[in-house]
Amino acid sequence: MQFPFLSVIVFTPLAAALVILLYKAEWKKAVRWTALAAGLFALALSVWVYIAYDKGAAGYQFIEKYDWMPMFGISLHFGVDGMSVPLVLLTGIVMVTGVMISWGIEDRPREFFAFLFILASGVFGVFASLDLFMLFFFYEIAVFPMYLLIAIWGWIKTREYAAMKLTLYLFIGSVVSLVGALVMYWTAAQQTGALTFDMLALETVKFAPEFQKIWFLPVFLGFAILGGLFPFHNWSPDGHVAAPTAVSMFHAGVLMKLGAFAALRVGIMLLPEGAKFWAPLIMSLALVNIVYGAFIASVQTDFKYVIGFSSVSHMGLVAMGFATLNADGMTGAGVQMFSHGVMTALFFAAVGMVYDRAHTREIPKLGGMVKPLPLVAIGVIVGSLVSMGMPGFSGFIAEFPIFRGIWDTKLWWMAIVAAISIVITAAYVLRVVLKVFFGDMPAELEGHITPIKPLDKIALVLLMALMIGIGILPALMVPWVETGVKHILSLLGGA
């Protein structure tokens, strides 16, 4: 039997969290090292899964299936396809870099890392799950630690409000989808006579078109709330800003992909007819995301809010790519999920490093950071170039196909409108880079900006390397995503 890669990846953080919780509160060092070790272990395995994924064979691989509750056809069914395997890798990366960047947390690090790792397990679990029940199970495991992480270690001014808002939004989304999933489950049981939550089996059930049209919206939108789709994006900038650095990284970097991914898996893949019917609506909403998010980001004065709203804008591109329902758009969206995840993790890491030293995120009050923090400046510049879709960086590899995909749909004019966002994005990210890192350092900050720690450097370099690597060599990621897209298109009727 093959080594159970995926289940080990999923349960490693959970096991580490339990071990950490058994430590004494004073063992702060042990807590950090355990967290790092577990993170590296999970990352190593996810890298291996990524490399070993057989693109020629495509389809679902590394499949493991254990009975969980045979009576209802619930199983612990792991497996990844070309769409999810980059996301598993992304989670591993964000987890490790998140631990590195949170090294200095002094307030109850034991609880912090334990909750962070429970969250990570939930995220891995969703990306690797081929069972609808299991997907919900892990989805909700990923939601609740978020509340505690933001409320306890977040930015003191808004953390209570933001944490509660985020949790309630996400919970509403997931339970609405849950009802939809239950309806799908019983309807499938009526049609096929078999009780199963297995998504591979549910994919082959041809639900009646009318049924799909009714249930697609609640299921898709329920998950898309976590993906930050307009008009349900409101929780996300507040949440990003209030969260501590590592959690912002997780949150924008991985968690929002969780929503988009689940919306794709459950919404589009299980209810393809519904997706076709509602695609124009989803595209319109996503268009609002893209343009509106970019505009709002450009008028923010808080560094973190800029990034928060840019995430809304970029996640709009993901939703847009999915809603094109064609090969180009979906491939772009798949790469965008990874690219944006890495980029935004880097941004939030950088913001955190600046804030920890300057104790302000107000852009007008910052300046001249390039001298004391050269690597952070480079990181943010690379991130900015990715964010505006500059060729040679991963953002281009992601966004270009999305725009091509839009062009191929009936709503081709949206490509033009959406393209405006690129200009705005370029304007605001460059403005931020210019103001924060160049120019004169305000007198009160002089001498307070200490250099970053070696672990921070490793994290930044790792994230930058990924963005440039994929930008120069798209073959490092695109072929994986393409195999996944091919399968989705076949479900959509070979369009």
Binding site: M69, M71, R110, I141, L148, M164, L168, F171, V175, V176
Partner: protein
């Protein structure tokens, strides 16, 4: 052939009750040996549980003792659960001042558990009524056990008044049933109610009202908050879990045995009742300042969730109710256990008493996390799967709107449960000197909490076999 097996748990409880009272005078003189009473009760309850599990498992479903008792899996499962809940509650009693050294408290607990066991298996109206009273009277006394505490006295008195009134209503319903049919056995009555008529409506209404009181369904829920708030905390925990489960056991047995054909007409009414119960319970819980009172309202809401499974009226629905009750009871026992410990340390049940709890005792903070997130229905805790199955049953029977009402309600629930966790994890004590205010957790309470946390996690993740048991219990109904 009549054996004692169908009532073996009850007999063991009876023996235990007598033993406790007999032991009492021997320990009167010696203060240091008083805790022995608690340990003895716990150990005996667990022994009774083990013995019953080994010897008294029902083979199928059969009436026993002239039709007074139905020996089936539904009754058996609930009995085993009541023994467990009583054992855990006895552990929590040992941590509560004024309860822990009184033999009467343990005796009343055992007597109430005895009544509940009979409720779960009673198959005859006479037996049923006796069982309900056997359960209720000890609980009235327990609720008012703290004689010098006004709130407790009020609680006991209120509970007794409301309880007596609804018992009368219930009894009136039973007497009408007997008057019209000349039968008292539930399983013979079923035949007589095959036609929908005005008598059936009236009778069902009376009986439903009586039972709705026991499980605190809207609009018969008014007693619950005052009673729970005033009663000693472990008693409130026992009331809100075991007593409620016993009420539901009777409810589902009655509705499936006596009024099966009425279900189409009654389902809508029950669905509306469930909706109102959930919504009213949750909305009022939102505004509470005391965690104990908040839990009282939340327990009303939980009765509403459980009703969803009853409305579904399928085998899956009934199984989900049984599973839900057990899941909820584990969780709520834990929550009340924590409230008891914190209340003792802080002298208050207000939210502010929970400030900084995770810094004062990290373990207790984690236990609170488990309890309140499980109540909110988050995985991997048992609250998630139990809600999931209830909603699944509702959707299966076509009650999609009810499932939607249920999930929306669970969002409201999440809000106020998170508020507790906010106090536990986020807020600080006034002088930020948590280090100097540790919360002592006594050994029996710690054991109880660990068992409950382990149970919540175990059933929450490996729910298959447990739901299998619930299904087996539900199958006995149809």
């Amino acid at each position: 052939m009549t054996t004692i097996l169908p009532i073996l748990p009850e007999l063991l409880l009876l023996a235990l009750g007598i033993l406790i009272l007999t032991l009492d005078p021997f320990l009167k003189k010696d203060e240091a040996r008083r805790p022995f009473l608690g340990w003895f009760t716990v150990a005996s309850l667990l022994a009774a549980l083990t013995v019953s599990l080994l010897l008294a498992r029902p083979a199928g479903a059969a009436l026993a003792f002239g039709g007074m008792i139905r020996f089936d899996w539904l009754g058996f499962l609930f009995k085993m659960f009541f023994l467990f809940a009583a054992a855990v509650t006895a552990l929590l009693f040992m941590d509560a001042d004024k309860l822990n050294r009184r033999a009467e408290a343990y005796f009343l607990l055992v007597a109430a558990a005895l009544g509940m066991c009979l409720m779960a298996s009673a198959a005859d109206l006479v037996m049923l009524y006796l069982a309900i009273e056997t359960t209720s009277i000890p609980l009235y006394i327990l609720a008012g056990f703290l004689k010098t505490d006004d709130k407790s006295t009020e609680s006991g008195f209120k509970y007794m008044l409301f309880g007596a009134l609804t018992s009368a209503v219930l009894l009136y319903g039973f007497s009408l049933v007997y008057g019209f049919t000349g039968k008292t056995n539930l399983y013979e009555l079923g035949l007589h109610f095959s036609n929908f008529n005005i008598v059936a409506i009236g009778v069902t209404f009376l009986i439903l009202a009586g039972l709705a009181f026991k499980v605190s369904l809207f609009p018969f829920h008014f007693w619950a908050p005052d009673v729970y708030e005033g009663a000693p905390t472990p008693v409130a925990g026992f009331l809100s879990t075991a007593s409620k489960a016993a009420g539901f056991a009777v409810l589902i047995r009655l509705f499936t045995a006596v009024f099966p054909v009425l279900n189409a007409d009654w389902s809508l009414i029950l669905a509306i009742l469930a909706t109102l119960t959930m919504t009213v319970g949750n909305l009022i819980a939102l505004t509470q300042k005391s965690v104990k009172r908040m839990l009282a309202y939340s327990s009303i809401a939980h009765a509403g969730y459980a009703m969803i499974g009853v409305v579904a009226f399928s085998e899956l629905g009934m199984a989900s109710v049984v599973f839900y009750l057990i899941a909820y009871a584990l969780t709520n026992l834990l929550a009340f256990g924590i409230v008891g410990i914190v209340g003792r340390a802080a002298g208050s049940d207000e939210f502010s008493a929970y400030n900084g709890l995770s810094r004062r005792s990290a373990g207790l903070g984690l236990a609170a996390l488990v309890a309140f997130l499980s109540l909110a229905g988050m995985p991997p805790f048992v609250g998630f799967v139990s809600k999931f199955f209830v909603f699944a049953a509702a959707v299966q029977s076509g009650w999609v709107w009810l499932a939607i009402v249920g999930v929306l309600n669970s969002i409201v629930g999440l809000y106020y449960y998170l508020n507790v966790l906010k106090a536990v994890y986020l807020y600080r004590m006034e002088n930020e000197d948590e280090d100097r205010h540790p919360v002592p957790v006594s050994r029996p309470a710690a054991i109880a909490l660990v068992i409950l946390v382990a149970g919540i996690l175990l059933i929450g993740t490996l729910f298959g076999p447990w739901f299998g048991l619930a299904t087996r219990a539900a199958a006995a109904l149809f």
